[in-house]
């Protein structure tokens, strides 16, 4: 088994601030994802990475940057925090092989003051 660790669990920032969320996985999975969860809107894909140093934009990438420095870690940066993007950010990973299952972390809750 493995685990996905997201840090911090709670992140409070000021409007306009640059904020970074981190994700580590020990599954040795190739593909990693960042999703944003808003109540009533489900999970929306921000960025994903098929392998180390790869980055693919999702439907919600504007206002965010991502970085996949090594296989086990994937970070997400909110370039200029806005009050309307208070949400839970979920990191997930998946094996590139035939298994399609995504494994999720427990999330980072972002509050913008």
């Amino acid at each position: 088994g493995g685990i996905i660790t997201q840090t911090p669990k709670f992140l409070i920032g000021q409007e306009g601030q640059k904020l970074t969320l981190k994700c580590q996985q020990n599954f040795n999975h190739d593909t990693m994802y960042w999703y944003r969860q808003d109540s009533g809107k489900g999970l929306r894909l921000i960025y994903y990475s098929i392998t180390e140093n790869d980055l693919q934009k999702g439907d919600l990438s504007e206002g965010y940057d991502a970085s996949r420095e090594k296989k086990s870690s994937f970070s997400l940066t909110v370039t200029s925090a806005q009050k309307n993007e208070m949400a839970v950010f979920l990191c997930a990973s998946r094996d590139r092989g035939s298994a399609e299952t995504l494994y999720f972390g427990s999330g980072t809750r972002l509050t913008v003051l």
């Binding site: 999703y35 894909l45 399609e100 999720f104 427990s106």
Partner: protein
């Protein structure tokens, strides 16, 4: 644009009753349809999944049905239990394809005893 639509947004059923959640999708290339279950404070976890070559998959009290012609799927939970109270997401992707998994808006289920 929401490629996967889910209903209802919330649902309350009595303990022992049958829960039915539904989803529809637009992209006819989607062929893999998982359902994820999320408890408060946790990330979603895979509950059950179906490929488009099948029309039904069962796992204990949980059954998912797939209708390719209508581009619809459903999740049935028989003998619903208070421990089933959670948010349920349907999702869709192309198996073995771009690795992009698109989620519905979610249904918050409450099972009352």
């Amino acid at each position: 644009q929401q490629q996967v639509r889910q209903s209802p947004q919330s649902l309350t059923v009595w303990e022992g009753g049958t829960t039915v959640l539904t989803c529809s999708y637009e992209d006819s290339t989607f062929n893999y349809f998982p359902w994820y279950q999320q408890f408060p404070g946790e990330g979603p976890a895979l509950l059950i999944s179906i490929l488009s070559v099948s029309d039904k998959k069962e796992d204990g009290r949980f059954t998912t049905f797939f209708n390719k012609r209508e581009k619809k799927l459903s999740l049935h939970i028989i003998d619903s239990q208070p421990g089933d109270s959670a948010t349920y997401f349907c999702a869709a992707s192309v198996a073995g394809g771009s690795a992009k998994l698109i989620f519905g808006e979610g249904t918050k289920l409450t099972v009352s005893s």
